[in-house]
């Protein structure tokens, strides 16, 4: 029979042991282990194919996968906690827009030493320069690019035809449509019930990927000046777009449009429940990722896609591109196995395996040039890379993004005019950017030409 003293001593020792074990940093992966934070949901299967192909070639390496989504807006909670707790993965699939910010915080390992150790000088020439530029910070490279995209207008052919419009008018072979024409079509598509609620709408300019930023690219806005190390979110182009948003929101009656969206696509609705898929919304600004969703959730939808609307007749077409990359959080083992895996995943083998099922555009130049390399239904979006651009990889990326989104919301709701909203955004970003100056964007930034 155990006496009370022994029981207490044992309990105390066990408690102390648990505390010490719990607090101890977990050591990194073994030499033949790769821990990956990667894709989930419908995309997990494609990633599994990459992993299977890799382990078939490298049977001694074990790849363990977890789903830890990275948010493009830079919520670094998971990464900070994991890195500080010593449980960071070896590799993380991450939105490229957030990489510069995470790198500036010291959350990521630069890959330059590995490239110098294992590869030739022309190693990085395999990928599109713009995608690599999104991964550079302070002269170093912090990941390898995976996929990319571009933006355009999706249209529901049935809804357009039901509204008395010819859906073929929007065929990309006819070139981009003008904004005026889209607004005209909007008038023909919109329907209301007897209580004044919208039951059908055309293009809601600010919906989905119709960020103010998207339209600002169309006006040629430049958000950062290397010479002055200044973020500019109050230029004439920015104010011009916000002003248009203000006007459109009043003309379309923002509360009613908002009620329409919340009806057919409430916040946090499942991915299959959108007003565009449901046929209530005739047009929507989005990217090739929508093609994947349509194939998964509404395969019978009769739809098409075209260029973003031009501000004025005769303007050049425009769009912008983003995408994901594999990065190595601080604490990654950076072992030869990890390096082989990142090269496989983001290189030609991985992109060849995954781009078609994922319906994404490759960033690897060989795969992009290969008709078998990705779903050719996406070729319109791939062709747009000739003139696309990307968001500036700033160390204050999430603040920059939030400030613009906030300005957009203010003008839509009508709590501020365009000038005031832009000035408020400027007042938020300037002091924070100053902390990182001097700073320059990577050379050649903003040019996506393949």
């Amino acid at each position: 029979m155990i006496d009370r003293r022994t029981f207490l001593a044992l309990t105390g020792a066990a408690g102390a042991g648990a505390l010490i074990t719990g607090c101890a940093n977990r050591s990194g992966s073994g030499p033949n282990e790769v821990r990956l934070w990667g894709m989930g949901g419908v995309e997990a299967e494609a990633q599994q194919q990459i992993v299977d192909a890799f382990t078939a070639e490298n049977p001694s390496v074990t790849v363990s996968q977890s789903l830890v989504p990275s948010t493009g807006t830079g919520d670094a909670t998971a990464a900070i906690t994991a890195v500080r707790g010593g449980t960071a993965p070896d590799l993380w699939l991450m939105d490229r827009f957030a990489v510069a910010q995470y790198a500036s915080l010291g959350l990521l390992e630069p890959l330059d030493p590995l490239i110098a150790q294992h590869e030739n000088d022309d190693f990085l020439d395999q990928w599109m320069p713009f995608a690599l530029n999104e991964l550079r910070y302070d002269g170093q490279i912090y990941g390898l690019p995976f996929d990319t995209d571009s933006r355009g207008v999706f249209y529901n052919r049935t809804t357009l035809a039901d509204s008395g419009l010819d859906p073929d008018e929007l065929d990309p072979s006819n070139g981009p449509v003008t904004l005026d024409r889209v607004l005209e079509m909007n008038g023909q598509i919109a329907q209301e019930d007897d209580r004044g609620n919208y039951t059908r709408l055309g293009l809601i300019p600010w919906d989905a990927e119709g960020w103010a930023l998207t339209w600002m690219f169309g006006k040629g806005a430049v958000f950062f000046d290397d010479a002055t190390c200044a973020v500019d979110v109050s230029s004439d182009e920015v104010v011009g777009v916000l002003d248009s948003f203000y006007t459109w929101a009043r003309e379309m009656d923002y509360p009613r449009v908002d009620a329409f969206k919340a009806t057919y696509q409430p916040p946090n609705a499942p991915p299959a429940q959108t007003s565009f898929f449901g046929g209530q919304q005739g047009m929507q600004i989005s990217g090739p990722f929508t093609i994947n969703s349509i194939a998964t959730y509404v395969p019978d939808l009769d739809y098409g896609f075209t260029y973003l609307p031009l501000w004025n007749e005769g303007d050049d077409p425009y769009t912008w591109s983003g995408g994901f990359s594999l990065v190595a959080p601080r604490g990654s083992s950076l072992s030869p196995a990890v390096w082989e895996f990142i090269k496989f995943y983001c290189g030609a083998p991985g992109q060849r395996i995954a781009m078609t099922p994922l319906k994404k555009i490759p960033t690897h130049l060989d795969v992009l040039a290969d008709p078998e390399g990705f779903d050719q239904n996406l070729s319109f979006f791939a062709d747009q890379l000739e003139f696309s651009t990307s968001r500036p990889p700033l160390p204050i990326g999430s603040l920059f993004w939030d400030s613009l989104v906030q300005a957009q919301q203010s003008v839509l709701i009508g709590s501020a005019d365009a000038q005031t909203a832009a000035e408020r955004a400027q007042a938020r970003v300037t002091p924070q950017m100053d902390l990182y100056c001097p700073f320059e964007l990577p050379p050649g930034f903003g040019t996506t030409g393949a």
Partner: protein
């Protein structure tokens, strides 16, 4: 012996101050050790998870710190920034708006629930369970339920509105109504406070009500002159915990707005702004300063309520 000689003057001084105190016996010392051992999980918990983060946060609030790199000392810079930051002002106003509505409404709703739970009927256990169950639903899940509840077309609110022919309204699309939705949502968690009220109600001697009835007191008079005064310590407790909870409102706004605090910063509550600063903008120093300010304000408000409570709280029930 040498030790004894060296400590003798100190020992004499202590004896002088507390003559009656004799040294602890071996048995008492053993009991102290055992006692400390028994409360050690709590002690370790407070030291590691409360005191250490509190002090750490205080120190970090005086620095610029991203969470990874070496903190840079900025003195009171973060506090000065906090008072000048327009978004901090907006988040404070939003939080006070929420607290100003949610706390008093919550007190009343919980009291009504408690009185319903206290009815002298046979199925009271069923009622108590039914009234308490919503409090068990996590705020996260409740937020999703409310998104459906306020849906402009299919939600209950707009269904009622449609009877009068009004246009559908997106309550989550307007800054003020979005806050009010969150206030209403909070009331579904009133069961916890109601249970505390219930305990207080059960503690009031039935003889007082019997005597009042004999004297011809109406139900309202009994409530005002017996229930309320004797329940006042419980009301005070619920008031203080209610204020503390309201100042830390976070989850509902985070879920309803995907962490953005929209529309137009309408649900950017103080804790949400603090969180965004810490983890989206990597300004842990600034976020810590905001946390310290919240702590100070929370303590001050609790102190103020406690001080004011001397006017309305009666502690007589325990003596009765």
């Amino acid at each position: 012996m040498v030790t004894a000689t060296a400590t003798a003057p100190a020992a004499r001084a202590v004896r002088g101050a507390k003559e009656h105190r004799r040294p602890w016996s071996a048995r008492e010392r053993r009991q102290l050790r055992l006692g400390l051992l028994f409360i050690s999980p709590w002690l370790v918990g407070v030291l590691v998870f409360v005191l250490y983060p509190l002090v750490y946060s205080l120190v970090i609030s005086l620095t610029r710190y991203s969470g990874m790199q070496t903190p840079v000392w900025v003195g009171l810079g973060n506090y000065i920034t906090a008072f000048a930051d327009p978004l901090t002002g907006i988040s404070v106003r939003n939080t006070l708006f929420y607290a100003g509505l949610a706390v008093p409404i919550g007190l009343v709703v919980a009291l009504v629930l408690a009185m319903a739970m206290n009815r002298n009927v046979r199925e009271v256990a069923v009622y108590r369970t039914a009234l308490y169950v919503p409090s068990l639903v996590p705020a996260f899940a409740m937020s999703f339920i409310f998104i459906v509840f306020v849906n402009p077309q299919f939600g209950l609110f707009n269904q009622v509105l449609s009877i009068f022919g009004g246009e559908n309204v997106n309550l989550l699309g307007e800054p003020t109504t979005a806050k009010i939705v969150i206030v209403l949502m909070a009331q579904l968690g009133a069961g916890n406070a109601a249970l505390i009220y219930l305990a207080g109600l059960r503690n009031i001697p039935v003889t007082l009500y019997e005597a009042a009835r004999v004297d011809g007191a109406s139900a309202w008079r009994q409530f005002r002159s017996i229930t309320l005064p004797l329940l006042s310590p419980v009301i005070l407790f619920n008031l203080i915990t209610g204020i503390s909870g309201a100042l830390q409102i976070f989850t509902e706004a985070y879920v309803l707005t995907n962490g953005a605090g929209g529309p137009d910063n309408g649900t950017l509550f103080y804790m949400l702004y603090l969180y965004k600063n810490a983890f989206s903008y990597a300004q842990l120093g600034y976020a810590s300063a905001l946390a310290v300010l919240l702590f100070v304000v929370g303590i001050a408000l609790a102190g103020l309520v406690y001080w004011l409570s001397r006017r309305f709280v009666h502690y007589d029930v325990s003596a009765g």
